[in-house]
């Protein structure tokens, strides 16, 4: 499509990012002095308007006689950047993939905005909070809608900024400020990969537009080599944003932010941007089996790694944070076995149930006055019945019980890994073990927080207000039914592929696999059995024989310590990266370069100026007659210069000189 099509553009994609941006401007600039109800109104209208704009766009694109074909391109600036041979348009692209993402981002985003109204009611900086949240939504929608890598990068950096601002929302707390910085810096490492990837794309393809890259890759000859390098660079970017090994370390610390932020940015939407980016650029990965394999291995390793750490965490939000990393690993695993639609499917269901779990955790924390330690909770089900019910749904969904949402998406990924055969079987097994661990630590959280006896006699928990419970209930319903959209009855047998069929125009149709319906059924049953096993172990550990956790920790002191200290990865990075960098910064950059070179140069220049000034100062005596004398002398000099016929004089002088030499 071209510019002409935007003339009668009826979908108004530009509204989707612009509405949250307007909310950001209003609350960011004027919000401080405004009454709370006005701030709330604008803060909620912005995401709601964006969501309705997405629904409007989805409606316009609904199959029918008047439907607009996908991909629907809306170019706001043509060209946006035009340097040499590189043309970049400011264009939004709506297709099946971005539509699904947009519905998740704005829908879940709106729910979490609504929840925040109740959660943040008594907090300082109410308007600041909502302006950041709206800003995040603006950048996230830009990221999703972007038709080229550069515009995506704008959104990519923007969500990083919003994430930084919101992690450090309680900036008076040193730990929160440090966590914000950590998230930003670690993300920069990933962004470096993204940037290099973009440069390589320009150098090799001359374009950053996704559709043009795909078109150029369709020519034969593009296989491996530079495509692998580009794909690995993009993977580095995705690993930074989506908290994969080895750049996952910022996400657990990001829990310093307000809980709804953890739900929206650090669970449901922003951290899935890496998965979205890989799906968006999947043609590159499709042309590089090696890069694809790396994606799968990174994903599986992260899934298992984070799940093991999650086993022993005692902070309710940290358990969920490691669970998020682990689930993101699943998505990467899905991408890595070229089951992009399964990864996006899991992204969507994960957005539902992880947002639900985080918000429910927020509700618990809110109810018991800010306590986050699982060991001090217990017996909350009686006091917080709604929160308990929705958490149960969330736990069942993430553990992958039939027929909750997580079952379908997780199953799709594991199935795709299994039928790949060879190394895929290993990845499948890792995924299965992770599913066991996931089920265990989620039910551990469930038992510790809600069942048993209250461990803190001073706590007087109270159920959260309706504005917080309503989003929870909606998300719970989505966590139950969100997976059903992939089911379709056709030809007498249940077709589980509707979701991937829908995304096929963007993500490509998978080659027919070797699997059969029976195999799929067996694998599903196995996954559910593993989840049930995890539940059983958690039941034994935390309900039946409560001395078991202590005894098993004592039986394996080394292993427990390793997990409790998160494999000492932070310490390792501290010793190998942070300390040397700090030393170089302090001694070389700080002392030699800054104090020595730059400071010395500045001192030298200053000294020269001072010295010259001291000399010239004598001239400025303040005596009016000396000024007049200089003026007269200057006038006389000019007069002499103008009046004296210099050529003749010089000629005469040289004639005398030559004449003297001649004699």
């Amino acid at each position: 499509m071209n510019v002409a099509d935007t003339m009668n553009a009826p979908l108004h994609l530009w509204l989707i990012p612009l509405l949250p941006f307007a909310g950001f401007l209003f609350n960011g600039i004027l919000g401080r002095g405004m009454p709370k109800w006005l701030v709330t109104t604008f803060a909620l209208l912005a995401p709601l308007g964006a969501f309705l704009a997405v629904v409007w766009a989805a409606w316009g694109a609904w199959p029918g006689p008047a439907a607009y074909g996908f991909p629907y391109i809306e170019t706001c600036s043509h060209p946006w950047i035009d340097i040499g041979a590189v043309h970049v348009d400011f264009s939004f692209v709506l297709d099946q993939l971005s539509l699904v993402m947009l519905l998740v981002v704005t829908g879940v985003g709106f729910l979490i905005h609504a929840y925040s109204v109740g959660y943040m009611k008594h907090e300082e900086g109410y308007a600041r909070y909502f302006s950041y949240l709206n800003l995040f939504l603006f950048f996230m929608t830009v990221l999703v809608l972007a038709g080229n890598a550069l515009l995506m990068f704008v959104g990519w950096e923007g969500v990083g900024l919003a994430s930084y601002l919101l992690i450090g929302f309680y900036f008076q707390k040193t730990s929160a400020a440090n966590a914000g910085k950590k998230a930003f810096i670690v993300n920069r490492i990933g962004d470096f990969g993204f940037l290099i990837g973009m440069f390589l794309l320009i150098a090799n393809f001359g374009t950053l537009t996704f559709s043009e890259i795909a078109a150029k890759l369709a020519y034969p000859g593009w296989q491996g080599g530079v495509v692998t390098v580009i794909a690995l660079c993009l993977l580095l970017g995705a690993a930074g944003k989506s908290a994969q090994l080895p750049l996952y370390i910022w996400l657990p610390d990001a829990m310093e932010g307000p809980t709804p932020v953890s739900a929206l940015i650090h669970a449901a939407t922003m951290v899935t941007a890496g998965v979205y980016m890989i799906a968006r650029t999947h043609v590159l990965f499709d042309h590089s089996p090696f890069a694809l394999g790396v994606v799968a291995v990174v994903g599986a390793a992260t899934a298992l790694f984070a799940a093991t750490i999650g086993l022993v965490q005692n902070d309710i939000k940290r358990v969920l944070a490691y669970s998020t990393i682990s689930q993101l690993g699943y998505m990467f695993l899905g991408c890595g076995v070229a089951a992009y639609s399964a990864a996006i499917f899991h992204l969507m269901t994960h957005a539902f149930f992880k947002a639900l779990l985080f918000l429910a955790a927020g509700s618990v924390i809110h109810a018991i006055g800010g306590e986050q330690d699982l060991r001090k909770m217990g017996g909350l089900w009686k006091k917080l019945p709604v929160t308990f019910a929705v958490t149960t749904v969330g736990v069942l969904a993430i553990a992958g019980f039939f027929p909750f949402a997580g079952f379908y998406s997780k199953d799709a990924i594991l199935y795709a890994a299994f039928v790949q055969g060879g190394g895929g079987r290993v990845l499948w097994f890792v995924g299965l073990v992770t599913a066991l661990l996931t089920s265990f630590y989620m039910f551990r959280l469930w038992y510790l927080a809600f069942l048993g006896k209250p461990r803190d006699p001073d706590a007087h928990p109270h159920e959260s207000p309706l504005s917080m419970l309503a989003p929870l209930v909606i998300l719970a319903l989505l966590s139950i039914g969100g997976g059903w959209i992939g089911i379709e009855r056709s030809a007498g047998w249940i077709n589980m592929e509707r979701f991937s069929d829908y995304l096929a125009p963007v993500l490509g149709t998978k080659a027919a696999d070797a699997g059969t319906a029976q195999l799929e059924l067996i694998l599903s049953a196995l996954a559910v059995a593993v989840a049930a096993l995890g539940w059983l172990i958690a039941y034994l550990f935390y309900r039946e024989k409560s001395e078991l956790p202590v005894r098993s920790a004592a039986a394996l002191p080394g292993g427990y310590k390793l997990l409790a200290n998160k494999y000492y990865v932070d310490e390792f990075y501290g010793a190998t990266v942070v300390k040397p960098l700090l030393a170089i910064s302090t001694y070389f950059l700080g002392w030699v370069v800054d104090t020595g070179l730059l400071g010395g140069a500045a001192w030298l220049l200053g000294g020269i100026a001072t010295f010259a000034g001291a000399l010239l100062q004598r001239w400025q005596s303040g005596n009016i007659r000396s000024y007049a004398a200089w003026l007269a002398a200057g006038a006389a000099a000019v007069l002499i210069f103008l009046v004296v016929p210099w050529p003749a004089v010089l000629a005469g002088l040289s004639a005398i000189h030559l004449g003297g030499a001649g004699h």
Binding site: G622, N623, I624, R625, A628, A629, A632
Partner: protein
Amino acid sequence: MNSSLAQDVPLSWYLLLSALLFTLGVVGFLIKRNLITVFMSIELMLNAVNLSFVTFAHEWHAVKGQIFVFFVMMVAAAEAAVGLAIIIAVFRARATLAVDRIDLMKL
């Protein structure tokens, strides 16, 4: 206009006289301490320039120079009025007219 005296005296004499008067004015400005003398030196310089103006105007039959002389005289008259008023005010305030001692504005 075409008086015999003006025709008899060569142009260079007028200019020499003008230069002489101007130099006298400059020297007077530079070496005299009394404010009134300094002031008179300035007037002398102005009048020296006026003399050059009329000389050239006469020589080249250009009336512009003569008009300019009127401007200069007018400005000089105004300047004399303001300047003398300042000198009187300074003398009343400081009881001196020595330029070197009127230096309150100096850093």
